[in-house]
Symmetry: C4
Subunit: 192 residues, 4 copies
């Protein structure tokens, strides 16, 4: 099966997810700058979630770029990833509602962790469907970066009960690491 | 007519449907895990509806993959299917609002039944538009699986007045049966 | 310029319009069938608006199918059409809020009229951009059907002050006439 | 990397942005024309924001049309632009909530300014990725029109503290200037 529709559907779902998050930014009643102050943490969490969803779109783009075809299992692995991404607006909203309390910040990490796991599974499904020496397999290898991120999320979830801000700092740190699209795939591809 | 735009528009509509359902997950006020407990059935119904819409996207993908062209009738048969799918968020919300009461659970089944009927009609329209010995016609045959599902929905609707949970179990059962994308089409297609 | 992106963007906008209308169907509090009774007119107006937006998508699809390229003017003529279509959920909501009162039903007609005018303008822009003997020009001709619809909307708007239900009947009648995709374009196209 | 998915994802995000703005048009309770009067400024701000987002889609379309390929940096420059565009519904809502008060009107300008800066950066990234004598580079040149717009936004932001309506007039003026898609790119392209 071609990969065109899987890409188009994923683009649609991720576009809706990334845009409905902005509906969390409730219009304040006041007309001066002070009215925006309580919105500042909400805005920052929106930026973080926007960047995370954008990173997933970016990596999804790079990964599918290195792939020629998909099978039925890959369709479901992709839908599994989209499911966890669709929960990002909900956990972002819960974190904001409770001003970065421990449990909501931990659940934010759980959703990031599950999305990371789903991405990893999707990657393995695609690699298994292609030849062992495919560009994707060579580019990704054991995916140390992806696996390390998963451990970072687990650490961040545990640390929420010490200090939720440390966890938030870890989320930001992982986002920065992923900010740069995976150069391994670009390098491994002819004309990539 | 080519099938590209029918696919693109369906991807867009299904992407919006599957994502706005998550807006039903209202952010709770409390900051501890107990605040999430009343959300658990809402979450489970979200998962079920997500899986159902995902199954329709998957089967839609497989079916259109086996088709070369569409006509005006196929466009409307597809829109008819999208109409019933667009009601899934509404019935999911009604089921949640009333904690799985009999009538909402029955209406959930009615929407699934109508979507199933619409899919079956769409399938027949596409088969009629192609040659009798087309890959789609050979792959689908009499579509025993699709027709059986319709009877399962009817049974589930009737059973809501005995016990709505039995109906829910039936919905979950049909979803599991459909979870695996239709191997008949994949098998019948060269290089599918 | 190719027509691919104009089609893709229009598909996206129309997909969002057709799906957010269902958010007007507010989940009722009661758990029995009587709770659905007040929703019945809302549901019927949803069906009508769904069919109207679907008709525009269908005709848009047929028209662009008969066209090879677009220019800057066509992009704006298309955006003008999308603008009026984007107001359909608003006027549908106003009609429902006031139980089919005269002024809201008239405004519903105004939006249909303006969308019809915008579609007609878009059609003329595309014909002007192509040769006089293009398939689109031959297929559409003077577009008697489109122009007649505009007069029907004007009549329906005027009739709201006699009886809004007569206007609604006219809207339904025009929708039925357009329900069948334009056979002129399908006929005029080779392999259409 | 091909530009197809960057275009498709941008189409999706911009389609959602341009359509969710209409949700700001809250259905009024009254059933006569007077009930619409308080909605008039909301409607006009919706039209202005619709036109601005449409201008960005139009220019995005023209710019990508002149480009053959994108790299990882271009993906992020594009996401940066989409981020600022995603804030347009929020600032439009704040302007409406406060009846065009100074600070909200200024913030509206800040978002327009940042979107303009993001577009300019995206343009430079694309030009740098192509040959010096590429069609895009020749067509855009120093982009006097784009840079002048940025200064207009800065002026409009400053003028909100004199009179917000002067700023609004400036926003409308810039929109009118951009209304016509960039003829430079169309001219510079063979068959453009």
């Amino acid at each position: 099966m071609g990969k065109g529709r899987l890409e188009a559907f994923s683009d649609g779902v991720i576009a809706v997810i990334i845009t409905i998050m902005v509906l969390e930014l409730k219009v304040p009643h006041g007309a001066d700058l002070r009215a925006l102050v309580p919105l500042l943490p909400v805005f920052l969490s929106y930026v973080l979630s926007f960047v995370y969803v954008a990173i997933y779109w970016n990596n999804h783009h790079h990964m599918l770029h290195a792939v020629q075809r998909v099978n039925g299992l890959a369709l479901w692995a992709n839908l599994h990833l989209l499911f966890w991404l669709s929960l990002v607006p909900f956990v972002t909203g819960w974190v904001n509602e409770n001003h970065f309390a421990a449990v909501p910040v931990a659940l934010y990490g759980v959703v990031l962790l599950m999305a990371g796991v789903a991405y990893y599974v999707f990657e393995r499904v695609l690699i298994a469907h292609h030849a062992e020496e495919s560009p994707l397999a060579r580019a990704v290898g054991k995916d140390l970066k992806g696996v390390t991120s998963l451990f970072m999320y687990v650490a961040a979830i545990a640390l929420t009960f010490v200090n939720p801000w440390v966890s938030c700092a870890l989320y930001v740190f992982v986002a920065i690491v992923w900010f740069i699209p995976d150069p391994r795939i670009e390098r491994a591809l002819p004309g990539g």
